[in-house]
Symmetry: C2
Subunit: 570 residues, 2 copies
């Protein structure tokens, strides 16, 4: 193959593809230059004057290297990897560092393998990070447990690129045996370890980094960024749907700029479709006054260096021909996207087929519960005062409020109050576990909502003011193999949306999924759910026992501050 | 081991070594900061406040990461790797990318292995680049030939770090089969390929880079540097004994600075001893107005990134504890050098023993010639006008002058003229080849000089005005197994200096070797060699058939411009 590149570089033969007369971003010198970019096979072979078998006129466009998303959970889009690619590749993203943490919590290594295999058919490099913290906490029942031994066995596999975000930082600091084993296995395999260490400073940060962890996407303050970069970390500029820290880019200087990279972490399909992916991050950064060439460098060369992706992230001979021709460095509207030397998207539309999706049995039918009855949702409280969970609109931090409760037939009365029942039904191992709590202020009246996305173990989370509606919701979720459900008690109707892949993602196309999803969300608001909440997705974080304050998991009510279970009685 | 690092980072246990209260260069942010640098085993575990089992007061010093020489031929020092380390480690160099091109031309892979094994006993990381062009040209007889198959077999070995400078750029451009095979083997093994492409531009440079070649240490002009960096190359700032391009550093900008690294390429023992190694380069760069932190970054983090050396080249937790405490960022006088966490040099003196040297049989006794007689140096020229070689003082480029010649008994007469006879005697394969030429203007009278260093095949190169003296010189070199020799015809004396390792390097200590070497050089000047020449070393480049203009190899006189042999007759 080298010979083919060399001959074309010398113009002895025509290139396969030439981007004619393109302005292009030279990330190595920080300049915008102009030339014909010649491509043979999957490689750029030269910039200069070239003729190609196929030529694209780029005289009115600016070519940049394909974007690299430094950290993303595909599952957060609720789309299959194929459909996810169909949204982000036309935006200019050609490589992602994907951590299939969610589906691995449900399906174990089968989830990880599914993401890898499903990605093979699309023109997107999906580098799979082995999820490091499955489950995220020992207080809940997850579909799988990846211990030190499992990490040792799997980290060496060819399709595993590195070890995913190491969220269990106390485990590192306290030298938990299994944690050390995981970290050492990754080093032995020569693989990169992503970090996740919000507000860890000083000696604790030193200790965390002694695990050989290299990145952080949780930075927000200037002090934290300065310290983390100073200690050798790469810091992500994050453009998720909820979690954003684009302002991190303001901390870039000439000296430290090579240590900043971009990521999206969690981004919903609607945002991907309507606003975009890293192209939207670039647009926003430039609008915020960041130098466009520098912003592009973060999204390309820097990320490639961070993750050791050689000959990627720049426009130069022998470098991977992952290229995006955009209208300009302000709007970043991608006109052409070239992946591995092939034109794969034009004017925002994918030129690849994603209709045939890889869909193995072992990621389907993941809702394992017995048929539930209204009585299963009876909530007995031995006091007239109880703890109720609350949640800030738009956030994931929950509160705890002490409320007065009434009882009837050994069950707490929620109808006619601003309280709702919340339940987490274990759905992986048929343990029969149901964690129950009270939830205040959400607004739902006359029914139940349910969803099989509940971070990070993804049990069934149910909310309602009617025991039978909650049971019906759970049973419907079992029937459809996971997804979202709404029960309207008054009308006697059950509406649902299937997320067949692990109960987290749909094998359908983004457009029809979103249409149905929006309809279901509207029904929830019609049943009273306040508009300041994301009707279903806000529920998905009520079980995340690593974020304050009061959470509910299948084993009961959890006080994050005390890092222990707690009674519902106040 | 991770556990030990983590506990010390959290101050649960004492660090092994602490550099107390040190100013230090933070290459990640480009700032000079202050703190205690804690070391456990071979790693830095933290910067902050720390106590150590051993502590070094650094309150008056500035700590920088250990320097990385991006490209060096140890052989050019004429010292063994152990002795070489004893000179450069106390200067602050802790890692070198070594290309044992010279000794491999003499001894084949045994030479390469020798450099690797001899380096094991010293506190210096010697990353061995497999020489890519052995021999450098097909026009001379070398001790070894490394073809495509040999490279395939050897590049995969654990001790081989990458493929050495690819000097044969025409071979790349013309897709020579063996060249392509070598390059592809390096890529298949996932190894880095160093470049060497002086004044290659445009499409030819594109083609050269399509070989997947990543560095160049031959850049000199701003245009060349701009183009090479723009095309993804790392550019070396070179501080050799003869070849210098420190001024390349003037081309550094905030945007391109990460693509500059330092190297020495070829540096003599005397310079290493008297002026220094990369410390001297840093001193000079700063004196030239380069920002000291930026200069340090080139010598450390940049080189580590270029060569994919993870967790090296910065002062941060989990990074390799290769540290240099210097007096200041102007003089760069190393007070302490720490390698892999251990204090290995103090106040310019090595704290390690290099008296026991690895000296395998297969790099000794490498001068294989029959006993020569005066008649072997008869030079018959069938014309009264002939081509004579000349050489610029201080350079390696030779000229060609047409001179009148007289004959006597079928031999050209040089006595009493400003001409000398030059001969290259093949010394590897006993071919009996002797290439002969005329050399003008060197000044020697009444004897002969000889040396077994003759780039790149390292045959015997002899210069003299007396056939018998030349034969005596060759015979002495055979006797001593290589080195340098001087024959004083008038006094009937023969003086020599042994370079027992491949005829290139001495197994002795630097000091006594230099003393004897200087004495021999003085004798050469006493015999008339003009002071503007390096009496012996200038001869070593007369056979380098890739540098213009007229060269002499064992197979005859070579016209580099025509890339063909030429007759001596004008």
């Amino acid at each position: 193959m080298l010979e083919k590149y060399i001959r074309a570089a010398r113009r002895e033969t025509k290139a396969d593809l030439v981007l004619k007369n393109a302005a292009y971003v030279d990330v190595f010198t920080g300049k915008v230059k102009r030339g014909d970019i010649a491509v043979v096979g999957e490689k750029i072979v030269g910039v200069g004057e070239y003729d190609g078998v196929k030529e694209l006129d780029c005289s009115a466009l600016t070519v940049v290297p394909g974007y690299i998303d430094g950290h993303v959970h595909i599952e957060s889009s609720q789309l299959s990897p194929e459909e996810f690619a169909s949204l982000i590749v036309p935006r200019g993203t050609t490589t992602i560092i994907a951590d299939p943490h969610e589906i691995t919590n449900v399906c174990g290594m089968a989830g990880c393998e599914y993401i890898a295999k499903a990605s093979e058919s699309v023109p997107l490099d999906v580098k799979i990070q082995l999820p490091s913290c499955v489950p995220a906490t020992p207080f809940e029942t997850s579909g799988a447990v990846l211990g030190g031994k499992d990490v040792e066995e799997n980290i060496v596999k060819d399709y595993i690129f590195g070890l995913g975000e190491f969220m269990n930082y106390p485990g590192v600091l306290f030298c938990d045996n299994d944690v050390i084993r995981k970290l050492e296995a990754a080093h032995a395999a020569g693989k990169v370890i992503d970090g996740h260490a919000p507000a860890v400073y000083g000696n604790d940060l030193n200790a965390y980094l002694c695990g050989g962890i290299t990145t952080d996407h949780e930075c927000v303050t200037p002090e934290e960024i300065e310290e983390k970069i100073s200690k050798g970390m790469y810091v992500h500029i994050r453009h998720g749907s909820s979690t954003q820290n684009l302002s991190n880019a303001k901390m870039m200087t000439a000296e430290n700029m090579r240590r900043f990279i971009l990521c999206t972490d969690d981004r919903h399909a609607a945002d991907l479709k309507e606003k975009g992916h890293l192209d939207d991050a670039l647009r926003r950064l430039v609008a915020d006054g960041i130098d466009p060439v520098r912003a592009v460098t973060c999204a390309t060369l820097n990320a490639a260096e961070c993750y050791g992706l050689k000959f990627r992230g720049g426009i130069a001979p022998f470098w991977l021909a992952d290229l995006v021709a955009v209208d300009n460095l302000k709007n970043f509207n991608a006109q052409y996207v070239i992946k591995d030397g092939k034109l794969v998207a034009e004017k925002g539309k994918p030129l690849f087929d994603t209709s045939k999706r890889y869909l193995p049995e072992n990621v389907l039918n993941t809702v394992h519960v017995k048929t539930l009855a209204a009585d299963d949702f009876v909530l007995k409280i031995n006091s007239d005062r109880a703890k109720a969970m609350t949640i800030e609109p738009g956030g994931v931090v929950t509160g705890c409020e002490i409320v007065d409760v009434r009882h009837e037939n050994g069950d707490v009365v929620v109808k006619g109050t601003d309280l709702l029942k919340l339940a987490v039904v274990e759905r992986h191992k048929m343990t029969g576990n149901i964690g129950k709590a009270l939830f205040k202020g959400y607004g739902l009246k006359g029914g139940a909502l349910g969803i099989t996305i509940a971070h990070d173990s993804h049990n069934i989370i149910l909310l309602g003011d009617d025991n039978k509606a909650m049971a019906d919701a759970a049973n419907r979720l079992r029937e459809i193999g996971g997804g979202m459900v709404l029960v309207d008690s008054a009308k006697g109707e059950i509406h649902s949306l299937t997320l067949d892949i692990g109960g987290l993602m749909s094998s359908r196309d983004a457009e029809s999924l979103q249409r149905d999803s929006r309809a279901l969300i509207e029904r929830a608001h019609a049943l009273g759910v306040k508009r300041e909440y994301e009707a279903f997705m806000s529920l998905a974080f009520l079980s995340l026992a690593v974020i304050p304050k009061l959470k509910i998991v299948d084993k009961g009510l959890f006080d994050v501050g005390k890092f222990a279970f707690t009674d519902i009685e106040a």
